[in-house]
């Protein structure tokens, strides 16, 4: 039913910032196809009277009241940061191209 092309894999890899060598595109296309086909079997079971759902629990309108509460203090918040500068998370340069 589904069929993943080499181009699809290349596109997804680019979106996910993954470097997949040309000669492995077919390999991953095959694997992804198997995964998608397995999931697609769910669709075969669903009858026309079962609406598609995005959530497993039939809940609506779950809200919290607008009250501010203290979160993490900065030391805790930044404890796992790979790099810190001026109390901010330091991240590598963002754009290589252009």
């Amino acid at each position: 039913m589904t069929s993943i092309s080499r181009a699809d894999v290349a596109h997804l890899a680019r979106l996910a910032r993954l470097a997949i060598p040309e000669d492995q595109l077919d390999h991953y296309a095959e694997q992804l196809d198997v995964i998608l086909q397995s999931v697609a079997r769910v669709g075969e079971v669903a009858a026309a009277d079962v609406p598609a759902m995005s959530h497993p629990v039939p809940l609506l309108n779950v809200f919290r009241e607008d009250i501010a509460r203290p979160g993490l203090d900065r030391e805790a918040a930044m404890a796992a940061a790979p790099a810190i500068e001026d109390d901010r998370f330091r991240v590598p340069r963002i754009l290589d191209e252009e």
Partner: protein, 497 residues
């Protein structure tokens, strides 16, 4: 950059505009967590496991934010969805620690509305495509490189205090047929949105602090041709910039098209300094954010009862209010716009309600107090002067106890914290000299000093009287009624006024 003069560009091309306005809501807490939204806090001190995307943390929607967006939608004449979902917008950029932003995709909560704006007395209906809920991103600062811009930066640092603050995006349909008014329509639209948000009380809408942000889309086409390729100008941080950005893009794109060139579909950045736009990210390749319904948040299904309850909370709309006040105060569109832009409409209305004549209330607030406020770097409404003070001073003027000049001195003293108008008048001995005796003495002295002027007046040159009146005002330190001095002077010389 090559441009064509604005008027000339419009002889050959028709502009098509579209506006995306982002409004940061003024809720106490963030959209999906309880972190505070205070502006200007120390970096990364208003963060928690949810807005830092720590494993296992789950978002829960802020009821006040949902109520705000429904009220915004209603004020913009939109339909409110009976059922909609949030969606994940996936992208790789460190302004969101989740690597996605929670937004809305094909199920916005408000759709198909409109907002009327008035430009040069002409009403233009701007149709609204959608109003959707999303969360703001963290603030990046780019380091290294020459310009502090993202290109050429060696690295960036991120503050996530802003990440997760509720953000409402209002997207217009394309606005056609505005011609030379396009820049003014864009500006008027953003101004109207600002006033509307303020009236609704949902945001402080400060463009300089980024709680109101605007992207302006523009394309040109020759009359009769299909629409051209559009650019999206970002970084438009004031009402004036909105107008300038649209105007500049018209001038620039016209030059490109005149040369037989092609407008590139791209994001451009407005340059505040010279009023131009510079190219940014190319959008020739459609972006692919792999939107999908947010599995961590349940659907939002506002009941019709809830929507109607919220409709009842809508305030008088700014345009309706302006029309009502303009009629009551007998002023025109220009005078009204002056009050709105100076941010003194509310306080003038309050002053009129305190019993001051509309003209006087406008005069004091747009003159004396606007000046005093800008000297002190505060908003006029925050000055230490009350509507009751102004009403009292106006009473004293009406009774002849004060003249305009003395009234200004009274307000200076009130602003300096010397007390109420009555206290100032008493303490400083400020009062119009109403007793004719001292005035006549001063007139005689002035006439004696300037006999030539006296002669001129006697011979009928009444405009010369100003010199004597001026001298009397000087000796009385402004505490005389200039009109009365003139009367007495002419009487004294036996001249008919």
């Amino acid at each position: 950059m090559k441009t064509v003069p604005f008027e000339e560009a419009l002889t050959r091309y028709e502009p098509v505009i579209g506006l995306e306005v982002h409004v940061e809501l003024g809720t106490q807490s963030k959209m999906f967590c309880s972190c505070s939204t205070n502006f200007g806090a120390e970096p990364n001190t208003q963060v928690c496991p949810v807005c830092l995307a720590l494993p296992g943390a789950m978002p829960v929607a802020n009821r006040a934010a949902i109520e705000s967006i429904i009220r915004i939608g209603l004020a913009l004449n939109c339909s409110i969805a009976e059922w909609c979902r949030m969606a994940r917008k996936n992208y790789f950029y460190p302004d969101m620690p989740k690597d996605y932003q929670i937004s809305q995709y094909d199920e916005p909560i408000c759709t198909d509305g409109y907002l009327d704006v008035t430009v040069d007395g002409k009403v233009v209906r701007v149709e609204i495509e959608r109003v959707h809920m999303e969360e703001d991103t963290g603030k990046l600062t780019h380091s290294g490189g020459a310009t502090g811009r993202i290109h050429g930066a060696d690295y960036s640092v991120v503050d996530y205090n802003r990440a997760g603050i509720p953000l409402v995006e209002i997207v217009t349909k394309t606005v056609v047929g505005t011609g030379a008014l396009a820049p003014a329509v864009a500006r008027a639209y953003v101004a109207e949105i600002r006033d509307l948000m303020r009236a609704l009380g949902v945001s402080d809408v400060k463009m300089e602090e980024g709680s109101l942000r605007c992207d302006a889309n523009l394309s040109l086409n020759r009359p009769g041709d299909p629409w051209g390729t559009r650019t999206e100008t970002k970084n438009v941080n004031s009402l004036r910039s909105v107008e300038r950005a649209v105007r500049f893009e018209i001038e620039r794109q016209a030059a490109v098209l005149d040369d037989g060139g092609r407008v590139h579909q791209e994001t451009r950045h407005f340059q505040e300094g010279d009023g131009t736009t510079a190219p940014g990210r190319s959008k020739e390749q459609a972006e692919d954010y792999r939107y999908f319904p947010e599995p961590d948040l349940v659907p939002i299904a506002p009941s019709r009862e809830w929507v109607e309850e919220l409709r009842l909370t809508l305030p008088e709309l700014p345009s309706v209010r302006r029309a009502r006040l303009a009629e009551a105060w007998v002023i025109g569109e220009f005078e009204m716009a002056t009050l709105v832009n100076a941010g003194i409409l509310d306080i003038v209305e309050e002053t009129v309600a305190a019993g001051v004549a509309p003209d006087a209330a406008r005069k004091w607030w747009s003159g004396e107090f606007t000046r005093a406020a800008s000297e002190r770097g505060v908003e006029p409404a925050d000055l230490p002067v009350t509507s009751a003070d102004i009403a009292r001073v106006e009473e004293l003027i009406a009774s002849g106890a004060l003249n305009d000049k003395l009234a200004r001195q009274v307000f200076e003293a009130v602003l300096a914290g010397e007390g109420s108008p009555d206290e100032v008048v008493a303490a400083r001995g400020l009062a119009v000299v109403s007793d004719d005796g001292p005035l006549l003495e001063a007139i005689d002295a002035a006439l004696a000093e300037q006999p030539d002027v006296a002669e001129k007046i006697r011979s009928g040159k009444l405009q010369a009287a100003g010199a004597i009146v001026g001298a009397v005002m000087k000796t009385t330190r402004g505490q005389a009624d200039a009109g009365r001095v003139r009367e007495l002077l002419l009487e004294r010389l036996g001249v008919e006024g």
